[in-house]
Subunit: 203 residues, 2 copies
């Protein structure tokens, strides 16, 4: 299985390669990617071997457009993953409004909230439904991915309901550790980790 | 200079060490950290050398509480960095409401927006001011860090104003590349990179 660290590097290679492609660069080598992104060349080569069968040619490297396509395929950008979002508060609304997800194959199809006043609204054509609908809707739409943007003390209760509804992967924004069975994947988002990088530059 | 990849790993070591400390584990080795976080042991050892003078003892490793303290000091959690936030929309409000930043030494002191209806509100005691106040306030409060949560087409114009106001580091959430002088650090946040990890687990 590929490590989470390689998985997080691949979108950065993809972004860099797209920029190269747009400025007409036909070929690109692992060395050039490593230099541009401050990474170790051996690591870049190893990462690329996950997504492509063709080894780069010694001097010239990979065809930019092919590598872009192979990374996109590997990361699942070409298929659409349908997700549900739980907790239509400030963060939930910002994620529902964000158009950058569709390009990566993420489509939030439906949202849920326990607050009566939020039910039956639509944000960017995404309907907000009551929690009582969660299980039947996730089953019917075969949704496997859930985004959690509720307060931390509510996150575990919401998670238990999601697991009963057949959810297999959770993107959790609430700052709390979720207890899930071993066949459920949880990605814990923590924006304050990015902040550590910023704050170090201020020292 | 430390690489951005090491900087992003350190908060994860910190989180793991805090959990160990809370469950009474007195000592921890680079090997244990590497196993728990699926990382390469040599890499973990190298990273730790940035934050601590004392090499771990061969069998037992580092004193957990000391290493926690040393990472916190290195990442600047013990001093308070004052920041301003520009663009009090959905995402801006979610960040103003988030209490996880204070623990990492980030205090958002003031917010700005161009929308008249948002001026003079307060979110968690943080006042929202008009853009005409940006330069005088950043100078007076000696703010060096700005968080940008405006739409992408407005982000460069906002950045130019921030640089004139003496800002040295920008945490940018708008999906666009900012042009800045070489002495200004920009951290480009992109939540869809985290999504790539989640979506790969759905394949
Ligand atoms: N990870 C990060 O870096 C980061 C950054 C900002 C916010 N957050 C977190 O994101 C979460 C949301 O923040 P926010 O500012 O949007 O909060 P908010 O209070 O504005 O929104 C929370 C929403 O969840 C709904 N809700 C509460 N309990 C529920 C339940 N049991 N079932 C369904 N819906 C429920 C509420 O009705 C509300 O609409 C919080 O946990 C916050 O700590 C995390
Ligand atoms: N990086 C990510 O993964 C991610 C996720 C969600 C949203 N976003 C981005 O974050 C940004 C904010 O999203 P949102 O949903 O909160 O949008 P929003 O429209 O709710 O909020 C934008 C705010 O910026 C203010 N604004 C606009 N132009 C301004 C200017 N020139 N000066 C000062 N204030 C100005 C508006 O008045 C509004 O209050 C967008 O760029 C969005 O694409 C990024």
């Amino acid at each position: 299985r590929i490590s989470i660290h390689t998985l997080k590097r691949l979108p950065r290679y993809h972004q860099y390669l797209l920029e190269q492609q747009h400025s007409g660069v036909q070929k690109v080598s692992a060395k050039q990617i490593a230099l541009a992104l401050e990474l170790n060349e051996v690591q870049v080569r190893k990462d690329i071997q996950y997504v492509t069968k063709s080894p780069g040619k010694p001097k010239t490297g990979h065809i930019t457009s092919t590598l872009v396509y192979e990374i996109e395929t590997f990361l699942g950008y070409h298929q659409t993953n349908h997700a549900c979002l739980i907790g239509v508060g400030h963060l939930g609304k910002a994620l529902l409004n964000y158009e950058g997800f569709l390009e990566k194959g993420l489509e939030i199809s439906v949202a849920f909230d326990k607050d009566e006043t939020k039910i039956d609204q639509s944000i960017k054509q995404i309907k907000v439904l009551p929690m009582s609908q969660l299980r039947p809707i996730c089953n019917r739409l075969k949704i496997q991915l859930a985004i959690i943007t509720v307060p931390s003390e509510q996150a575990q209760e919401v998670t238990d309901l999601l697991i009963e509804s057949g959810i297999k992967a959770i993107w959790n924004f609430a700052p709390t550790t979720l207890v899930v069975p071993s066949d459920v994947f949880v990605y814990q988002e923590d924006l304050s980790i990015s902040f550590s990088v910023v704050s170090h530059h201020l020292q």
